[in-house]
């Protein structure tokens, strides 16, 4: 920053090393620390009020320091505009930066399919990643995979439906990663007939998202790039051919995300939903359906306007974009990622 003292006419210019360069009207120059101490140069006095005003106090981007005084929590007044390209006009545009480097992300059910792809894509963007899944199977392999991508990883076996252990997992993850910027609620009770499936959808899809946000919020509020993404489904917005709890539970998620996007906006947290259409991957539902119910598989495939089902990576890229500071103006959106599987006009 460069500023002219309106009385003395001296020019104050901040330097990269945190000092301020001062040039008086008669051409004498001096370098000063922000507290007013003279460092070198012919000019040995500068206005002590101007120095810190010109020199930007360097602010740590993530603070883990606890608050002083009382039990009251920190507040913020909305989603900040991220500085993704920096202020150097000489560099020009460097294309679109997601601004995720160094961010701390938590993804539930991240050892396979969409969840795994999401965790991997965040890791590739330079994020630290906390993951969980039911049972130990897959957690170790996934952790190694993510670490190989350069990510710091915190992994734990947790059943999202178990509220208490899920909440403590989030607290442990945030403590380990030094905070939390992004929460992705991906775990699902899955599709199926009967009351059990309704209950599973409620316990995992819905309450997992509700509790996950509640438990993450104290950490998200400390972040300067906080966002939440729920993974819903096109089954929530268009009839899938099966009447089942899964569809309605996913619809509940979309509404809840929309509510949260309003109530958390002035606390600096964005909330969006991604609704994937059919996604095919090895060991996934559609592979099973292809073998067990080829007619249904063919029917769904025929509905995909782009002529194929999606891949987990394609869904993950949408999630990671929405979660990133690059999407700073997007909140309350339900992004349908389905290759034209649904036919409605998406007003």
């Amino acid at each position: 920053m460069k500023l002219r003292h309106p009385v003395s006419q001296a020019i104050y210019t901040s330097q990269d090393d945190g000092t301020v360069h001062v040039e008086s009207e008669d051409g004498r120059t001096g370098i000063f620390k922000l507290d007013g101490r003279w460092v070198r140069g012919e000019l040995k006095f500068a206005d002590p009020h101007m120095l810190p005003f010109v020199g930007e106090p360097s602010l740590p981007s993530h603070r883990t320091r606890s608050m002083s005084g009382s039990g009251e929590s920190r507040q913020r007044s909305g989603v900040p505009v991220p500085d993704l390209l920096g202020n150097d006009p000489t560099k020009g545009s460097r294309g679109m930066e997601l601004g995720l480097n160094g961010k701390r992300v938590l993804v539930t059910a991240a050892t396979r399919g969409i969840g795994l792809a999401i965790a991997q894509t965040f890791a590739d963007q330079g994020c630290s990643v906390a993951i969980c899944a039911r049972g130990d199977a897959g957690l170790e392999t996934t952790s190694k995979d993510l670490e190989a991508r350069g990510a710091r990883v915190f992994a734990k076996s947790v059943d999202v439906a178990d509220g208490d252990s899920f909440r403590s997992f989030i607290a442990e993850a945030a403590a380990d990663l030094g905070g939390l910027d992004v929460y992705v609620s991906n775990a699902s009770g899955g599709a199926g007939p009967g009351e059990q499936a309704w209950q599973g959808g409620f316990d995992v899809d819905v309450m997992g998202a509700v509790r996950g946000v509640e438990a993450s919020l104290p950490f998200l509020e400390e972040s300067d790039a906080a966002s939440v993404v729920f993974i819903a489904s096109t089954a929530a917005i268009e009839y899938l051919g099966v009447t089942q709890g899964y569809n309605a539970m996913k619809a509940a998620l979309i509404t809840h995300a929309s509510d949260l996007s309003q109530s958390l906006a002035n606390r600096g947290v964005r909330v969006n939903t991604v609704s994937p259409g059919p996604v095919y991957f090895e060991g996934g539902n559609w592979e099973m359906i292809k073998q067990a119910m080829p007619q249904m598989y063919e029917g769904a495939l025929a509905q995909c306007a782009i002529g194929r089902m999606g891949t987990p990576e394609e869904v993950a890229r949408a999630v990671v974009f929405l979660a990133s500071p690059a999407a700073s103006l997007i909140t309350g959106a339900n992004l349908v990622v389905d290759g034209g599987f649904t036919k409605r006009a998406a007003f």
């Binding site: 460069k2 009385v7 020019i11 810190p52 009382s70």
Partner: protein
């Protein structure tokens, strides 16, 4: 680099700065100027010298506790901090703790935060509860202060239910603020406020909500702190970058009964300058004084910086302030900073600022400064935000939501630690105040003298 000495202008009210007076500036407004801005007080302020011991002596501090903090109406909280039945908050001043509660009947009541059994404070934090229960032995009161239950009631035959109603602290509301007065024999809040509510009729503070609330402990006496925010005389020393766009020494100062007011014009040049800033310079000094950042806004040829700033503010406020088109340029551009004795500083018009200053931890050399932004809103009043606490060594720029003023606060508070140290080491006995530009400080000290009986 010599600055020309100011040639004072003699007026029938005394010596004033050269340059355009505030009343003269109002004559150029594009809207009809309301009476409240035309008012000028004629009060004589006798206090010109203030004993330094008022800022540094424990004896004087103790006197203030007894004669000021226990006797005056004080801003305790905003109504939107306790919107629901059972919501409560604490107001701490010196060694007093006052519990402010919204009852089931929606009424706000204040109580001494002390159990009538063995004295433990009833509440430790702000929160919500359907009753007031002491954490020590479980004595239990209703939200209206009536005694509900005592564990082992048989053991207290001497406790009369009526007499063990929680002692109420006088409370009242104005402008969405809840006030308390620990003195049971005090005058009514209405009487104490006097004409102040009339001043705010055009800017109803009850139609605002707490959008930002930052608290910071500072190493100086509470009066050293608040007096840094009661005049524009410090601008040339403390905020020189603003001079092209602020009529600092042309400010108007008034004082009435228990409150005082300063008005400082923005988007008008300081008489201190030896050069003439153009309209763009005036705008830039207040919006983006930095020479290497484009302010992105150009003052059109047929407009002044004041008119442009007023129009921009009208556009911003259009959605939330229905009367905005009738407001003068002055009300959308200038600073109107009121002080209600002893420590409450609501700003007029649409500056949004409220300050409150209090002693901290019973230490004459420490105080708590709070900055609150009260913003207009549309629809239902949003609930108040929680307080952001800054550590002593954390800059104001760390707080969220203070905007470009954060750096200005940083300049203001830069002096305060040293000011306190200077007062403690001083060999002289009094601080000396300006005749006119420190009117608000002199008014404050004349009231202070009246309260402490000095």
């Amino acid at each position: 680099m010599a600055i020309e000495p100011l040639q004072p202008m003699q007026t029938d009210q005394g010596a004033r700065s050269t340059g355009l007076s505030y009343q003269g500036l109002l004559d150029t407004d594009t809207r009809e100027v309301p009476e409240v801005l035309r008012m000028q007080s004629a009060r004589e302020m006798p206090v010109v010298q203030v004993p330094i011991e008022r800022y540094i002596s424990q004896e004087f501090y103790d006197l203030e506790v007894e004669k000021v903090w226990k006797k005056t109406w004080q801003f305790a909280c905003r109504e939107e901090e306790i919107p629901e039945s059972g919501d409560h908050t604490l107001y701490k001043i010196a060694d007093l703790e006052i519990l402010v509660v919204r009852g089931e009947d929606r009424q706000i009541r204040a109580f001494h935060n002390t159990c009538l059994h063995r004295g433990r404070p009833l509440k430790d934090y702000a929160g919500n509860s359907e009753s007031i229960r002491c954490p020590f032995h479980g004595w239990h009161w209703n939200l209206d202060g009536s005694l509900r239950e005592i564990p082992c009631r048989w053991d207290f035959p001497h406790v009369d239910r009526e007499k063990f109603h929680l002692p109420e602290v006088r409370s009242g509301t104005w402008g969405g603020f809840v006030f308390v007065n620990p003195d049971p024999d005090c005058v009514s809040l209405e009487t104490y406020l006097g004409d102040l509510p009339r001043h705010f009729e055009r800017w109803p503070l009850e139609d605002r909500y707490t959008e930002v609330h930052v608290a910071k402990v500072l190493p100086c006496n509470w009066k050293v702190n608040q007096e840094a925010f009661m005049e524009a005389y410090h601008v040339i020393g403390t905020h020189p970058q603003m001079l092209p766009g602020i009529g600092d020494s042309n400010s108007q100062y008034d004082a009435w009964d228990n409150f005082s007011r300063a008005i400082t014009a923005n988007m008008t040049p300081s008489p201190h300058l030896t050069w003439e800033p153009d309209e763009q310079d005036q705008l830039g000094a207040m919006l983006t004084p930095s020479m290497d950042k484009d302010p992105q806004i150009r003052v059109p040829e047929d407009m002044t910086a004041r008119e442009l700033m007023a129009q921009m503010t009208r556009m911003q406020l259009q959605a939330s302030v229905p009367s905005v088109q009738a407001l003068t340029d002055a009300e959308l551009v200038d600073s109107f900073y009121y002080t209600l004795f002893p420590n409450f500083h609501p700003w007029g018009a649409y500056n949004r600022i409220v300050y409150r200053f209090r002693p901290w931890e019973d230490d004459v050399h420490k105080c708590l400064m709070e900055v609150i932004y009260l913003s207009p809103y549309r629809g239902r009043r949003p609930s108040a935000v929680p307080i952001q606490w800054l550590d002593e060594d954390e800059p104001w720029t760390e707080a969220k939501g203070l905007g470009s003023l954060a750096k200005v606060f940083e300049q203001d508070t830069f002096n305060l630690r040293r000011a306190q140290q200077g007062l403690r080491s001083a060999q002289h006995t009094h601080v000396t105040l300006a005749n006119y530009q420190e009117t608000k400080l002199r008014h404050f000290h004349s009231l202070l003298e009246r309260y402490v009986g000095a």
